[in-house]
């Protein structure tokens, strides 16, 4: 029934015929031009930051500025063109925000990689190599390709609904994979967490992708079952409790997240999955009781875990007393030898404190003193060198992405897409909360990646895919309703856009 076909010009103006007597709602604009201007702004911030790293480290603009900068700019422009072609009505803010985060992550990874190398001040970070930034740029490229691929493959959110059980199964396999593999392949060295699949020098974290697959599965499942799940049973203390026989799904999700916790020692991801499920369940059923039940289940689980798994108990001790001597150091009294994981948290906090309000400036701090600063603790590197000001800006960028995602969820009509957008937006918020809260001592630290910023490919690619899904949903939500092109009474020829 499409007469004109999809318009990819993104100008937001559609050359519709007007006929007198027909009341026309002005078409919403695609706002791709706005996106381009903001993207240019994002790219220039990133390029300036990149130059600033070199100037801060050794007084010279980095020689790689031209190559890295141009590559990054081209990559983001490619993403922009893909949107023009594939999702012209999508939210114009999401790409510039994601590009800014991805770019700043690259800049920080470059800055950390350069510490102690090429005559720059500081100690070289042994877990990084001289080609880390190149690899990260490569992963960014794969991320943008995955972003475009999602837009190409998923032309309509509801298309995903057909594959919910397949995706659910894939999600479960991805989650369970590291637990089933031998520790030599699946354990992140030194952490005890079995969350990766490392073969050769190459590793991926399947849970990052499981996040998306499971979000799709939850959305599809909940859309199908929400009426049953919303049925109230008894009222206790003014709260409508669900019927016992409907408790199945929440119990299964809880059990899976606990298994994840126990077999992979990965509290962060476990909390992430369970939190995402709960929120989607709540939005699907609108029953607060599910939130209460789920949260209590999680707290009970976390308490049991803290009693049973020493790993978890240690995390609590570190959180409560990060600066007590035995938690930070061991060894002789005069020279402190770091030997327990609180050293990392303490160093990160020192970095944040050292950065203060305005930060030391890129290249002027000592973020390399914090172990694994390029992955879990990258936010403390930003806090140190860009200060409170820069950190607040980063948090606001995340906040904007989340709220734009939720905005798409509100706007879209299809309940499946609504739930999916809710789940994915919330999972970003929760992930940022868990990791930033963890490294700033707000909550016990659990090692998960910081979306877009941390070194590592899986998280980056998965984050780009989430942005793609959110943009697809917002594209669907903002796409103008089919317009009558002629006034023919009850029968209309409509034009699909």
């Amino acid at each position: 029934m499409s007469v004109v076909g999809a318009r990819g010009d993104g100008t937001g103006t559609t050359g519709t015929m007007t006929s007198p007597g027909l009341t026309r709602v002005p078409l919403p604009r695609g706002r791709r031009g706005v996106e381009l201007i903001m993207l240019a702004f994002s790219i220039s911030v990133v390029l300036f930051a990149y130059a600033s790293v070199g100037l801060g480290l050794n007084g010279h603009v980095p020689t790689g500025l031209a190559t890295y900068g141009v590559l990054f700019a081209l990559l983001m422009l490619g993403a922009h063109l893909a949107i023009r072609k594939l999702a012209p009505w999508a939210d114009p803010l999401l790409l510039p925000l994601a590009a800014l985060l991805n770019g700043l992550g690259l800049v920080m990874i470059y800055r950390l990689q350069e510490a102690g190398r090429n005559g720059n001040p500081g100690n070289a970070i042994s877990t990084m190599s001289a080609s880390t930034t190149t690899f990260q740029l490569m992963w960014s490229t794969i991320g943008v390709i995955a972003f475009a691929a999602v837009l190409v493959v998923v032309r309509e959110p509801r298309m995903l609904q057909r594959y919910i059980y397949t995706l659910g199964a894939i999600g479960l396999v991805l989650v369970a994979l590291p637990a089933l593999l031998p520790a030599s392949i699946s354990e992140v060295p030194g952490t005890g967490a079995k969350i990766q699949v490392a073969i050769g020098g190459f590793s991926i974290q399947p849970e990052e992708f499981a996040k998306i697959a499971l979000a799709v599965f939850f959305a599809g499942y909940l859309v199908a079952k929400r009426d049953v799940l919303a049925l109230a049973g008894r009222h206790v203390l003014g709260i409508a409790l669900p019927r016992a026989r409907d408790m199945g799904p929440v119990l299964i999700a809880w059990a899976v997240s606990l298994l994840l916790l126990i077999f992979e020692s990965d509290i962060g991801t476990s909390a992430l999955f369970f939190g995402m499920f709960l929120i989607m369940l709540y939005v699907a059923t609108q029953r607060t009781s599910w939130l209460l039940i789920g949260t209590s289940l999680f707290l009970v689980g976390a308490f049991l875990a803290s009693q049973l798994v020493s790993h978890v108990a240690l995390r609590f001790s570190i959180w409560l007393h990060p600066f007590t001597y035995p938690n930070v150091f061991c060894g002789s009294p005069s020279i402190h030898v770091p030997c327990v994981p609180s050293y990392q948290l303490a160093q990160g906090m020192y970095g944040l404190g050292f950065g203060g309000i305005l930060g030391t400036g890129l290249g002027h701090g000592q973020p390399y003193l914090t172990p694994l600063v390029q992955s879990d603790f990258i936010i403390t590197a930003f806090g140190e060198e860009l200060g409170l000001t820069g950190l607040m800006a980063l948090l606001l960028i995340y906040g904007l992405i989340v709220e734009r995602g939720l905005r798409a969820a509100v706007a879209v009509r299809d309940p499946f897409a609504k739930l999916l957008a809710t789940g994915l937006s919330f999972v970003i918020a929760l992930q940022v909360f868990v990791i930033v809260g963890g490294v700033t001592q707000l909550i016990p630290l659990t090692g998960i990646t910081t979306p877009f910023l941390s070194q590592g490919g899986s998280s980056l690619v998965a984050s780009w895919m989430i942005i793609a899904v959110l943009m697809r949903i917002s594209d669907t939500a903002r796409r103008p309703a089919p317009q009558p092109i002629q006034d023919e009474g009850m029968t209309q020829v409509v034009r699909g856009v």
Binding site: Y282, V283, I335, L352, I357, L369, E403, K418, F433, L442
Partner: protein, 498 residues
């Protein structure tokens, strides 16, 4: 579903708000507290962004300086004569400091409130912050002589020299020692390795033997016993006292004997059952005489006298000094042993120097100190130490008697320290030797102890030396003291001429 969705959006907002409030708290309000945590390497690095003050000797020789280097740390510590001054300067690392580096850290680093106004002016005028210079009382000639002599002995040893009239410490050396330059690295791994090496070394190079290790005083404690006797008014140097070859100790089958089991005979005591003058007993160091005298005076009188000489007190010079011990004794036999420095009494080399210094300064013991003054970066003097009396262990006349006895130890041909008389080159020295037995059943090598001052008529320097396992005090320790004395007196001569 939009109703629930809006609530989710609010929840997300609340999470971000929590994060924002928390980072504001951490970076805005808690930053100062975080900076003060010990082991905060970033704060340390910040300290090294500007020049830490120098430590210089009394004769203006720099012994710790901050050199300009490139990198994150703009300055690195440098000790021009590292091991010689190691027990004085200590070291300065990201995680800990010792010695003067620790004791005067606030002034050296410039964070002391007394430098606040200066720092504010520098901040306004854009000048880099600088630490204050600490000038010590240490004399480079005496210190060098002390360290080199200890090193030549090859044994664990400590030596301290004091100006008796002020209490100013002229030399404070320890051997084996460490090289503080090795600690002046800003590479954590290297630092760790250096520290581990020193810490695990059986030679204990980090131990400051001059003030932090105590040894049995041996016969040098006879200074305390004699002082207590003279102060009682019942004795003077020429008083004769019972001098048996073997002194029977009440309540035990033990007998106190003299060194090498020899009789105490100045010619008037051929039977080994008569008496000798105290000055003779002191000069040849008869154990039986002072053992008997100690029992007669009693443990509490000895303890009182020992306290007056500064024992049983923890001093700060400003480095922390281990207290020399004279624990209470009541049994007469143990009192006899303690009176000759062979019971539970232990002393530091500094305490040995203080014995001689109190006698040399006419019975007044000046409070030992090592920091002469602190000079602000603008060259104004911030702190100048005024000498003060610590105690008055003996009267002027008792001090004169003691001085006469100690001079006799060197001057008389039969004196235990007469062997050094030939090395003195015209300087008169008053001294007391000690050869402290130790180990199980006294089977260990004897510690050589020596306390002295010079010149006798107009004392300018008091020196205490202890060489662990050095054997006879006169053999091992006395020549070390002589070298320190000669080095300092010749420095005084040349500076008076110059």
């Amino acid at each position: 579903m939009n109703h629930a969705l809006r609530r989710v959006a609010l929840a997300c907002l609340a999470m971000f708000l929590l994060l924002l409030v928390n980072v504001n708290y951490v970076q805005g309000f808690e930053a100062g507290k975080l900076a003060d945590y010990p082991g905060n390497g970033r704060t340390f690095a910040q300290q090294y962004q500007y020049q830490r003050g120098s430590i210089i000797t009394a004769d203006n020789k720099p012994i710790a300086q901050s050199k300009h280097v490139s990198g994150v740390y703009s300055f690195q510590r440098y000790y021009p004569a590292g091991p010689t001054y190691a027990p004085v300067t200590g070291y300065d690392t990201p995680y800990s400091k010792t010695g003067i580096e620790q004791a005067e850290d606030n002034l050296l680093s410039g964070t002391d409130p007394r430098l606040a106004v200066r720092n504010l002016i520098d901040l306004v005028t854009g000048k880099p912050r600088k630490g204050a210079t600490v000038q010590l009382t240490i004399n480079s000639a005496a210190q060098k002589a002390a360290y080199e002599a200890l090193k030549a002995s090859g044994r664990p040893s400590g030596a301290v020299a004091i100006d008796p009239s002020t209490g100013a410490i002229l030399a404070l050396a320890s051997y084996p020692t460490f090289n503080p330059n090795k600690y002046a690295t800003l590479n954590g791994t290297k630092l760790n390795k250096v520290d581990k090496k020193y810490r695990d070394s059986p030679q204990q190079p980090l131990l400051n033997r001059a003030i932090n290790q105590t040894f049995p005083p041996g016969s040098t404690f006879k200074i305390v016993t004699s002082s207590a006797a003279f102060s009682s008014g019942k004795y003077h140097p020429d008083s004769r006292y019972y001098a048996p070859t073997n002194l029977k100790l009440p309540g035990t089958t033990n007998q106190l004997i003299n060194f090498d089991n020899s009789p105490c005979n100045d010619g008037s005591n051929p039977t080994g059952n008569g008496t000798v003058p105290l000055i003779y007993a002191f000069t040849v160091s008869c154990n039986t005489v002072f053992g008997g005298l100690g029992m007669k005076l009693g443990g509490s009188a000895l303890r009182h006298q020992a306290n007056a000489f500064g024992m049983n007190t923890e001093l700060r010079i400003p480095l922390k000094v281990s207290a020399s011990q004279y624990p209470p004794v009541s049994d007469p036999d143990f009192t006899a042993y303690s009176a000759i420095g062979q019971y539970n009494d232990t002393v530091t080399p500094l305490q040995e120097a203080m014995f001689a210094a109190a006698i040399a300064n006419h019975g007044t013991l000046m409070r030992p100190y090592m920091v002469q003054k602190v000079i602000a970066p603008n060259l104004t003097s911030l702190v100048t130490t005024q000498p003060s009396a610590l105690s008055h262990p003996v009267s002027r006349s008792v001090a004169a008697d003691m001085s006469r006895m100690m001079a006799s130890v060197v001057a008389q041909p039969y004196g235990t320290a007469h062997s050094i008389a030939g090395q003195l080159g015209g300087i008169t020295v008053a001294a007391k030797t000690g050869t402290a037995q130790n180990g199980a059943n006294n089977t260990g090598l004897d510690d050589a102890v020596f306390t002295s001052f010079a010149p006798v008529a107009n004392p300018r320097i008091a020196v205490g030396v202890i060489v662990k396992g050095g054997g006879l005090g006169a053999d091992a320790s006395a020549p070390i003291a002589v070298q320190i004395i000669k080095a300092y007196l010749s420095y005084l001569n040349s500076s008076a001429k110059g």
